[in-house]
Amino acid sequence: MSAPSVPGVRRQGRGDRSAPLFAGPVVLLAGLFLVLPMGLALVFSLTEIAPLSGEVGWVGLANFATMAADPTFFRSLLNTALFALVTVPGSMAIGLALALLMNSVLPARPLFRTVVYLPLVISGVAVGLIGSLLFNETSGVLRALALALGLPVVPWQSSGPAAFASVVLITLWVRVGFCMIIYLAALQAVPPELHEAAQVEGASGWQRFHHVTLPLLGPATFFLLIMSVIYSFNVFDTVFVLTGGGPGSATEVLGTYAYDTAFGPARDQGYGAAIGVVVFVLTMVFTLVQWRRSRAARDGAL
């Protein structure tokens, strides 16, 4: 093939010959360890996998039928939804408040910011263990603190709602820093001229926040909403270590239930794969709905 190559004019069509060399490794790794397993997840969700031999047998939709009649599954679905419903708006609201605070005139601002970010780099397991130190019912720090202050002692481990609250509280401790990072970046992108103009027009502090700052935080809010919901649909490490899903199944979430089903004593991997598929579908549906809503909102505003 002898395409007349004119100097300075790019060859169209064939592309760079060394592209496979550069793109190949990551495409191969992601294809093998992410894309292929995602496809296989759908297949395995329709099978029964023998615990010991690992033999795979086709069962059609039987796993999903089991799920529809499985009270523990519904409990963990409900708990996951509740967890998202509390931690997502909670961490976003606190993160926004902290970002506003840390964006204002304040001494030692970098130090305060660092302190809020710090839990972000701590592993979920370590967070769970620190949570156990705080919330242990008989020897925990919060019990000692309550006794020292003369406050009522909370049964953080034996009461379902209290255990759920302990998971929520420790999650907020980690997640507010993340929300603050995103909101702070968005706040710093707000041109100060806008605020000055609003001030000249006589807008109050609240009015300026409501009409100038808040609308400009829309994209950050959308991004955080998606990321935080994905995080809460997937939550595993901290719950697994802090409560193990208990007491009973009071803090069982989809993440811990899927793991216990597939790799716990039951080792029912077909059913575990089916639960995983449900987690995936929920994540996808939520993301798409939010995406469309945000697009609709943007188009409406134009």
Binding site: R10, S18, A30, P37, L40, S104, S123, P192, A220, F236
Partner: protein, 297 residues
């Protein structure tokens, strides 16, 4: 959908940048300032408290089955550390974590850089659809592919080896997203000019592009280190031999051994947490930038 991420590429979020001036009369301004300082101090106390009690417990004598609040180690001791080290191979768990996180990070940064270059600066058929597919994998929950991934790695004969953690870990697609975004900002004329001078594509990558990528490499390295150092669910599934444990699985195992011996557990938690905390304190701006751009944590 990830294209709507509201960030400005890899612009550093400058801590000292703009500051909104507090409006109003001077007296009111001072009241507002005082209130803000009080609020910030309260927030700092709440955020630091769990870490502080971890530190105090780690260095306090473990025998005290504490019913009283201890906010200061009355007799600081290393007993908790020596006790656990004498009983369990914590040293090799630490070494395992360093090795696994190190190798995974080097691999993942390398493939992210070359991949990012291919997606940002080279033309080839299928570039956009393949990139979108890779982006979509960022949305796949780890739970959703746990079983098939395990069976795949198991059929490759990797279960019970570090490669079972390293290879899937190196497939972290967040790096591609970051690298592509960074490399798009490098002027194409720079690449074209080198080509006109007769440089091959690998040569352009090595001598022209890579030297410009230092901040990108810093962000990619720190994020990959953080994910790998902290990763728990996947190593828990594929590394079942206690000799191969990484720190997070080791920690969870020790929880079963020491139950409410908070001293021992907090000493090990501190050990597992300290390296990343130090890295974070030194390289905070890169961490913040990376987290703000990928939104992953």
């Amino acid at each position: 959908m990830v294209a709507t991420v509201p960030t400005r590429g890899l612009t550093v979020v400058d801590a000292r940048a703009r500051t909104a001036r507090a409006p109003g009369r001077p007296g009111r301004r001072r009241v507002g300032w005082t209130l803000r300082v009080v609020a910030a101090v309260l927030v700092a106390v709440v955020m630091v408290f769990p870490l502080w009690v971890m530190l105090v417990t780690a260095f306090s004598s473990g025998s005290a089955y504490s019913q009283t609040l201890r906010l200061w180690p009355s007799e600081p001791t290393l007993d908790n550390f020596t006790r656990v080290f004498a009983a369990w191979p914590v040293g090799s768990w630490f070494a395992n974590s360093v090795a696994v996180a190190g190798v995974t990070t080097v691999l993942s940064v390398t493939v992210s850089l070359t991949g990012g270059f291919a997606f940002a600066k080279l033309r080839w058929a299928g570039r956009t659809p393949v990139f979108l597919l890779l982006l979509a994998t960022m949305m796949i929950p780890a739970q959703a592919i746990l079983v098939p991934q395990f069976r795949l790695v198991s059929s490759l004969g990797l279960v019970g080896t570090f490669w079972a953690v390293i290879l899937p870990g190196a497939a972290a697609t967040f790096g591609i997203f970051l690298a592509r975004q960074f490399l798009m900002a490098i002027p194409t004329e720079l690449v074209e000019a080198a080509r006109v001078d007769g440089a091959s594509t690998p040569r352009v990558f090595w001598s022209i592009v890579l030297p410009l990528c230092r901040p990108l490499i810093a962000v990619l390295t720190l994020l990959a280190l953080m994910y790998q150092w902290n990763d728990f669910l996947w190593p828990l599934v594929v590394l079942r031999d206690p000799a191969l444990f990484t720190l997070p699985i080791g920690l969870q195992f020790l929880q079963g051994q020491y139950l409410t011996d908070h001293g021992a557990l907090m000493a090990m938690t501190l050990l597992a947490t300290a390296p990343l905390v130090v890295l974070f304190l030194v390289f905070q701006r890169y961490f913040v930038q990376g987290l703000a751009t990928t939104g992953l944590r």
